[in-house]
Structures are given as structure tokens and as C-alpha cells.
Amino acid sequence: MKHCMIVDDSRVIRRVASRILEDLSFETSEAESGQMALEACRHRMPDVILLDSHMPSMSYLEFLRTLRRQANGAHPVVVFCTTENDVGHINDALGAGANEYIMKPFDRESLQSKLAEIGMA
């Protein structure tokens, strides 16, 4: 079973994403900030990280750069979630180490399709 970590400061979004992912036979874990996610990754690196692009304390770019420097940090596939429909924003995320993006709000179908593209579903 693949493990997906959902990093988002919104509890509602984390619950919704968890439910969809569990339906898709993923094991899930949740983190409400970049720091908490990095800490959790030190103990157990997930296969996929669903990363919100708007987090209060640590930016998603800072999170991505720190993650990719960590031991085994190159391993997880990072899908960053954004409401910004902006090519500059997407390029920044790719440059920092994101693998894919998904635009919010997403539903089961779009998340499943994105995970299929990256070979995870």
C-alpha cells in the first residue's frame, strides 16, 4: 500500500483528501505545516506528498528545497496543490523539486487522474 502525506493547514482539506486517497487504497498521514511534515518525513518518508501551496509558516518552496536535501528526500513524488493558475508559479514549484501539480478545488476524479499520471494509482 502506497503512503501519501497530505500537507495542508486546512483541516477540512486534509480530511477530504484523506478520504479520497483512502478510497483509492492509499495509506495516509497528515501534517498541518511544512515543519511538521519535514519532521514526519525524517521518521518515515512517504511515497507521495500532496503539498498545499499556501502555508502560513514555511512556504511550499522552502519545504520542497529542504525536503529534497534530506536523506531519501529525493524519493517522494510531490504533487503541489494550488489555486494559482500561473505559469510562473508552476515553474517555481518545478524548479524547487515538485513533480506535478493539481489545481484546487480537486475532486476524486482529478486527483485519481493526477496520481495515475505519476504512476501511483
Binding site: 500561473d86 515553474n91 506535478e100 489545481m103 482529478s110 499520471e117
Partner: protein, 280 residues
């Protein structure tokens, strides 16, 4: 809506397009006809339907037909047919057409264009264009509004993220406000045209491959055979047909031979010169 009216609508639609709607799907028919009803000054779909069946005005028929036959689509839908085309068909065609360096591919029901643009992207990612190959894509659909959208090549964020990876998005699209427009180099590969698969396809000329996906399932057997005949008639004698994965479950398909181990991929089995078009 009156079941007898729906049954008549379904029958007349089948005569016009070959497409056999399920008359039990009243809700679908009603929801698709409601915007057309408003367009023609009716409050509800059943009033439109009565008028349509009584007077049969062509403009109304055209609008109703387009509303009832629009199909959902997305980029690289089902993935496997595209990968199969790239890995199994294209290398063979590249060898066979090495002398002319020319390929023509027909996507015969492209809806709003995602399928043909996916194919154009895939072709851009092969060395063929850089080696000077002349590749022409012909994109048709019954629905003129869908073809107009396909030709425009402007998609919402929701549409581009359905099936399209991030790298392809930033490589092949330009941002326009909150939408994404397909790059001109892809659009220039494609000729768009509204076309009913029941009509004579002679204008298409000879093509090396036909993508006919998620269409044949809507046809009853005699119509399907007629369409397959037409498609075979446009294919070069060593051409290929690509259908949806589960669209033709039978091993024996008129005019085509299923390629072993390849779902939805067929080789044409009779030479194009033997075909007589317009025999039905």
C-alpha cells in the same frame, strides 16, 4: 417528457447521425435539450421537443443534435492507446514511409480537440518533425460547436489538468488570463472540419491511421459496419485503426484484423482500391 416523443426523437437522431441514444435516459436527454429550448425561446425541453417533432426546423435539429451528441473528453484519455501508437504503430509507419517522409492521421471524432492535440504533442516528442517529416492531422467531429472550440484551442484550468502532466502544460500551452491556449505549432499541424461519419469521407483522402475512439459504441451493428467500411476506405492498405479499448470486443471485425496483444489496435485487411464508397 412524453416517452413516445422521446422514442421518436431517438429514432430520428439515429437516422441523422447513426447514434443510438438510450431512450430510458430521459434525464440526460432533458438536461441536454434544456439550453437548446431556451435558445429557441421555449421554457422547457418538452416544449422544444414537441415543436421539433412537429415542424422539424433544420436549425433546431442541428442544435438539438449537437447538444445530444457532445461527448466528454480529456487529454491523453486512457493513455494506453497513445503509448501504443507511439511505441507500436509509429515506428512501423516511419519505416514504411521513410521514402516519402509523409504521414496523414485522421482523428474522426475529436469532440473539443483534446485527443488530436494529445496526438500532436506526442508527435512533437518524436524525432520525426525535426527530421523534416510532413505530418498532417485531420480532426473531425459531428458537432460544429465542438469543432469550433477545438480549433480555438483554449482550455480551462480544469480541462488542462485532466490527463495533462505539468511539463506538457508548460511546454505546449500559453497562459491567457485564467485559461490556457494551445501553442501555434500544434494547431498548425491540424486541419479541423465538421463531419458526419455517415457521410462520404472521400475528401479525407488516404490516411495512414485513424483514431476512432469512443464513437463506435454509440452505433448499432449495421451502422457500425458501414462506418468501419468508410474508415477502411480512407486507410492506406497497410494502415491502422485505433479504437477505444473495449469498443469492439469481437475478434472478428469487418474490414479489420485485431493485432494480437494490442487492445483497440487493428490493421486494415482489404486493399483500399477494392472499396466502393457510397454503396449503402
Amino acid at each position: 417528457m412524453n416517452p413516445a416523443d422521446i422514442a421518436l426523437l431517438v429514432e430520428l437522431l439515429k437516422r441523422r447521425t447513426g447514434i443510438a441514444l438510450n431512450p430510458a435516459k430521459t434525464h440526460l436527454i432533458e438536461s441536454r435539450l434544456t439550453p437548446v429550448a431556451r435558445q429557441f425561446g421555449f421554457r422547457k425541453a418538452d416544449a422544444l421537443l414537441r415543436d421539433l417533432l412537429r415542424h422539424g426546423r433544420e436549425a433546431m435539429w442541428r442544435a438539438a443534435t449537437e447538444a445530444l451528441t457532445t461527448n466528454d473528453t480529456w487529454f491523453f484519455r486512457d493513455r494506453a492507446p497513445f503509448e501504443q501508437f507511439r511505441d507500436a504503430v509509429l515506428p512501423v509507419l516511419a519505416l514504411r514511409r521513410a521514402a516519402t517522409r509523409k504521414l496523414r492521421i485522421w482523428c474522426c471524432a475529436v469532440s473539443t480537440g483534446q485527443e488530436v492535440y494529445s496526438l500532436a504533442m506526442l508527435l512533437q516528442e518524436t524525432p520525426l518533425l525535426a527530421e523534416g517529416w510532413d505530418i498532417e492531422l485531420i480532426a473531425t467531429d459531428l458537432n460544429s460547436q465542438s469543432i469550433a472550440r477545438a480549433r480555438e484551442g483554449l482550455y480551462t484550468s480544469y480541462e488542462v489538468q485532466r490527463g495533462l502532466g505539468i511539463r506538457r502544460l508548460i511546454t505546449y500551452f500559453n497562459q491567457e488570463g485564467d485559461k490556457w491556449r494551445i501553442a501555434g505549432r500544434l494547431g498548425r499541424m491540424i486541419q479541423f472540419r465538421t463531419f458526419n461519419l455517415l457521410d462520404d469521407a472521400g475528401w479525407v483522402g488516404t490516411v495512414d491511421a485513424v483514431f476512432c475512439r469512443n464513437v463506435l459504441i454509440y452505433f448499432e451493428e449495421p451502422v457500425k459496419a458501414r462506418v468501419l467500411d468508410r474508415l477502411a476506405g480512407t486507410l492506406a492498405e497497410d494502415g491502422y485503426l485505433i479504437t477505444g479499448n473495449a469498443e469492439m470486443p469481437d475478434k472478428v471485425v469487418p474490414f479489420f484484423e485485431a493485432l494480437p496483444g494490442r487492445r483497440g489496435l487493428y490493421a486494415v485487411t482489404r486493399p483500399a482500391f477494392m472499396l466502393v464508397s457510397g454503396t449503402y
